[in-house]
């Protein structure tokens, strides 16, 4: 990973004057360049630092122009390249051929902001429904969305299950309603006999327009809205949003608040990984494993309910700290459950390592090489299973992760089996973190009073959700309502990896492959 100042030096040297550099703004540094030179800047960067990944592309409506922020992920943190495109002629060249991972980000920006990316492989609808009027871009400030709700009744229900039979390929739709998949999303696979030749994921079934809704609610209400983007990793969304507001306000959350937040985040990670491993059991037909894993997940749910008042959506994080304290009576219960969980994890680790049928179904299925993982800018356990050691808790620690010692779990053979094993081992780490946090929970306040109006500012904030790096961009304009909230969820950058890993595998492995990527489509579509 290239050091930050080397990157800045490269760009400065490449572009000379027309690139202003603002240090420590929007991540580690921001480089403002004009739209035309985006392609060669990115090419130059990737050339001398192969491990550079594109974290997200954020669009902002700056009333005459549309701003595009390319957040690049280096080892030391986020570097943002800022360009502007005029609203009249929003054309910019696509960087997908340099960084394949940018494919989905560009399609989403095209959908919601109406930016045309020159020579982008397939600029089709990604997030919005197919029959969306194509001159209406929801995230622009001037988009009048009222007529949409009226015109919704005459939505033409175009059946999109086209059974085109080009060559000998059978077109199988793993459709929105499928017992294996928890959520609606569609993969149209082209199958030759049993081998999958081509897959086209179609997401957007769970697109609820959260980013637009966030601009209409106050910061306090947004915390609850943002938490409900994804029910499984809700604490991470809350923590990311709350931290970005605190970064703008500059408030210092008291230590006890930080420790309690870390406990809740780790409980959330435990809950999410156990759920995923159970779901994997269901996918590969191992009913009993599913039943046992989800039974052992119940203690985690009970703990969350005891600490925060709700089994799943732990709305206990708020701007300035935590809403509820961890009482003295809770601590022994937490410790007892952690001991029970550790025992069960040892059993499952032993099971996953020695159970032949699991290995048969997941060993070298859907292999993702380290090179591909970096190229596709994959995040979280999927990347760590392919030997890419990125984890926001280690790279730039937030909350109390700086003070809590834990190991970064990585494996190198990048197949479905190692993805599951990475998650299993991370469970041990989570239990250790919770134990450590509970043992030295600092005394004192767990919350600080925060004004409801947030001063103007812009910030990028990253959090390690169970599925990977979750990036939030927040722009505030000094009123009680945020100007722009951009959410880039981990599964959004993991989906392209699914296209890579499935081609060449046989049909029966599709569910095992999907589940090993731990897709959370309510996250992806926002």
């Amino acid at each position: 990973m290239l050091a930050i100042n080397e990157i800045l030096f490269n760009i400065q040297e490449l572009l000379g004057d027309n690139a202003q550099i603002k240090k420590f703004f929007l991540g580690k540094a921001t480089i403002v360049i004009n739209a035309k030179s985006i392609k060669d800047v990115v090419a130059r960067l990737v050339k001398n630092d192969s491990t550079l990944g594109l974290s997200a592309i954020t669009g902002i409506d700056l009333d005459k122009t549309i701003g595009l922020l390319y957040h690049l992920r280096t080892s030391e943190g986020i570097v943002t390249i800022k360009t502007e495109v005029s609203k009249g002629k929003p054309i910019i060249s696509s960087i997908t051929n340099i960084i394949p991972g940018a494919n989905f980000h560009e399609r989403e920006a095209a959908d919601l902001f109406g930016i045309i990316f020159k020579d982008h492989p397939n600029l089709k609808r990604l997030v919005l429904p197919d029959n969306w009027p194509n001159d209406l871009y929801p995230l622009r400030k001037d988009a009048n969305l009222e007529d949409i709700s009226k015109s919704r009744d005459n939505f033409s229900y175009k059946i999109d299950g086209s059974q085109s039979q080009e060559d000998s390929l059978v077109n199988i739709i793993v459709g929105p309603q499928h017992p294996a998949l928890l959520e609606p999303e569609k993969f149209s696979l082209k199958v030759d006999g049993e081998i999958v030749k081509y897959v086209e994921p179609r997401i957007g079934y769970v697109h609820r327009g959260v980013e637009k809704a966030a601009e209409k609610k106050t910061y306090l209400q947004d915390v609850y809205l943002v938490e409900r983007i994804c029910g499984i990793c809700n604490a991470c969304h809350a923590s990311a949003f709350v931290e970005s507001v605190e970064k703008i306000l500059g408030t210092q959350v008291p230590d006890r608040g930080k420790y309690i937040r870390t406990v809740i985040l780790e409980l959330n990670r435990l809950h999410s990984h156990l759920l995923l491993l159970g779901h994997a059991g269901l996918e590969i037909g191992y009913e009993t494993l599913f039943q046992y894993l989800w039974r052992d997940r119940e203690p985690v749910m009970d703990l969350t309910e005891m600490l925060t008042g709700n089994r799943v959506i732990a709305s206990s994080l708020t701007i300035g700290g935590v809403r509820r304290d961890i009482k003295e009576t809770h601590i022994p219960i937490i410790k007892k459950q952690m001991i029970y969980l550790r025992e069960r994890m040892i059993f499952y680790k032993d099971l996953f390592e020695n159970e032949p049928s699991i290995k048969l179904r997941t060993k070298n299925v859907g292999v993702l090489s380290t090179q591909d993982a970096i190229k596709l800018c994959v995040v979280g356990p999927v990347a760590r299973a392919s030997g890419v050691p990125i984890d926001v808790r280690k790279d730039d620690p937030y909350e109390a992760y700086g003070e809590i010692p834990f190991k970064l779990v990585t494996r190198n053979d990048g197949d479905a089996y190692s993805r599951l094993m990475v998650r299993l081992e991370e469970l041990f780490e989570s239990i250790n973190i919770i134990d450590y946090a509970i043992d030295n929970l600092p005394k004192g306040p767990y919350r600080i009073k925060v004004p409801r109006v947030v001063s103007a500012g812009e910030v990028v904030n990253r959090v390690e959700a169970p599925r990977g790096e979750l990036l939030y961009y927040l722009k505030s304009n000094g009123s009680a309502y945020p100007e722009r909230v951009k959410v880039r969820t981990p599964t959004f950058s993991n989906i392209p990896a699914f296209q890579k890993t499935i081609i060449g595998e046989n049909m029966a492995d599709v569910p095992a492959n999907i589940v090993s990527l731990d897709p959370c489509f309510s996250c992806t579509d926002r």
């Binding site: 919005l128 429904p129 197919d130 969306w132 929801p138 969305l145 949409i148 709700s149 919704r152 939505f155 229900y157 459709g175 929105p176 309603q177 017992p179 928890l182 959520e183 609606p184 957007g204 079934y205 769970v206 697109h207 609820r208 327009g209 959260v210 637009k212 809704a213 609850y224 809205l225 409900r228 983007i229 994804c230 029910g231 499984i232 809700n234 759920l275 599913f290 039943q291 989800w294 039974r295 997940r297 119940e298 749910m301 709700n310 089994r311 799943v312 959506i313 959370c520 309510s522």
Partner: protein
């Protein structure tokens, strides 16, 4: 004869679950019902693989524009004595996302709903309580 069929319908309601745009908080609670701790199989409730086999449709999530048509199609595929249970604030009325551009809001705009279970997400016991209330209302009907 009629009382036996109602008895049979009450005793073995096969369920199908469709998530029309939910944050999957409610979905994991629905699936948690099958796990040992809550185990709805005591009531003979089984997760049916395809709409053809199902009697009760458990919908979760605010109906997004794209899913509306799917939801309608699933509902039509189900054989006749069918019931719909809307789980969670989103399914009942659109919850936090009500009013967003791509959200139809509430399942009742698309298909008739028999039972509303509020909560975000409702506890598994609350869902069982909803299904039991549905079965009881069947008994009287």
């Amino acid at each position: 004869m009629r009382s036996i069929t109602t008895w049979a319908r009450i005793k073995s309601p096969w369920v199908i679950h469709f998530n029309s745009g939910a944050c999957n908080g409610c979905d994991i609670e629905v699936i948690a019902l099958l796990t040992p701790r809550y185990d709805v199989e005591r009531f003979g409730i089984k997760l049916a693989p395809s709409p053809r086999h199902a009697d009760v449709l458990l919908t979760t999530g605010v109906v997004t524009a794209q899913c509306a048509e799917r939801l309608k199609r699933i509902y039509d595929q189900m054989p006749e004595p069918k019931f719909v249970v809307a789980i969670g604030a989103c399914a009942c009325s659109g919850g936090v996302f009500k009013g967003n551009y791509s959200v139809v809001g509430g399942v009742e705009n698309i298909i008739p709903v028999n039972i509303y279970i509020p909560g975000c997400p409702p506890k598994p016991e609350a869902i069982i309580d909803g299904v039991v209330k549905l079965l009881n209302s069947l008994k009287e009907a």
